[in-house]
Symmetry: C2
Subunit: 205 residues, 2 copies
Amino acid sequence: MILLHHLRIGRSLFTVWQLEELGIKYSLKVYHRNPETFLAPIELKAVHPLGKSPVLEDGSLLLSESSAITTYLLEKFDTENKFSPPREDIFNWANFTQWLHYPEGSVFCPLLVRMLLLRSKEPHATLTPYSEREVALHLTNIENQLGENEYILGDKFTAADFGVTYIVSLAKRLGLLHSYESLNNYLEKNLARNAFKQAVERAVE
Amino acid sequence: MILLHHLRIGRSLFTVWQLEELGIKYSLKVYHRNPETFLAPIELKAVHPLGKSPVLEDGSLLLSESSAITTYLLEKFDTENKFSPPREDIFNWANFTQWLHYPEGSVFCPLLVRMLLLRSKEPHATLTPYSEREVALHLTNIENQLGENEYILGDKFTAADFGVTYIVSLAKRLGLLHSYESLNNYLEKNLARNAFKQAVERAVE
């Protein structure tokens, strides 16, 4: 059975959501951050050399990259392509792949920098303008991609919405969504899905 | 035909390398950074809303995430699985997917922060320790994964080596590889491949 190593608080809640959404049976092992440093506990180092979360364990397989976990879960469990275009539909599948990689590959970094700057209360000559410029660029890009659509790739929820929802929720937590009404609506709608509520019930104390 | 929008200097050289390695016909459109700000020129905004590079154009398809580009090129052109395990070999394919996502998903951010800190010559209370800790963690992780192997997934070069080579080359450019002998060797070996040399010949003035 799938075992998810789940660190409170962090992005692994969004992996729990995927497991719920895909209807996969799984067990959870919960870890807690150091309340002072907010770093992951040393126990996670015994699970995976990076000592981070999520880590998905399936037999001898260990995956720690959120979007690689999504790709794996789709390949193994979403055999009817409910959550992604089939590969034969190569244009839509390629766009899906772009939006699957984009949140972690491009958007997370400026948000993390912003979070660390906020936490320290100390601005920086190059990193503050970098994070401000890039966060605005990417939130605007996501908003434009959404347009009038319900979901990031159109009128149908896909697995690309997992990563985008995570990144938008992080931006919200950092107080960066004031001028992005459609992103607020998008976030609210996705977090109101039954599978997300089940994830919260199971994974959040 | 594939058109690659290629910004000098940056990661798109590594996309050119992939095109050469896979034997794909392509054309290049070259852009140059602003010599003062080092930012991409405004012309790239007309190509893709993020205004970054690489952007791969194939008919009406536009892809801007490096690892999504790799995934697409493999799907369309590597039909004999010369550069990745077949999906039916799900354990090895999943590990490959993990290492395909990992460089951009986890390693690039602390390296970029390090680069921006070095460029400003101004340390920062939380971002300096973040970048030092994370860069060391990831370079050590890559070194451990390599072990005695020639390539990141064993004795065979795969498409996962493209992203890892890029990230290791960036670390080298930032002067961070002194104590990582095997990473230096790995980098030297990959940059000596014929396809990389052809990429340099075609894409570097």
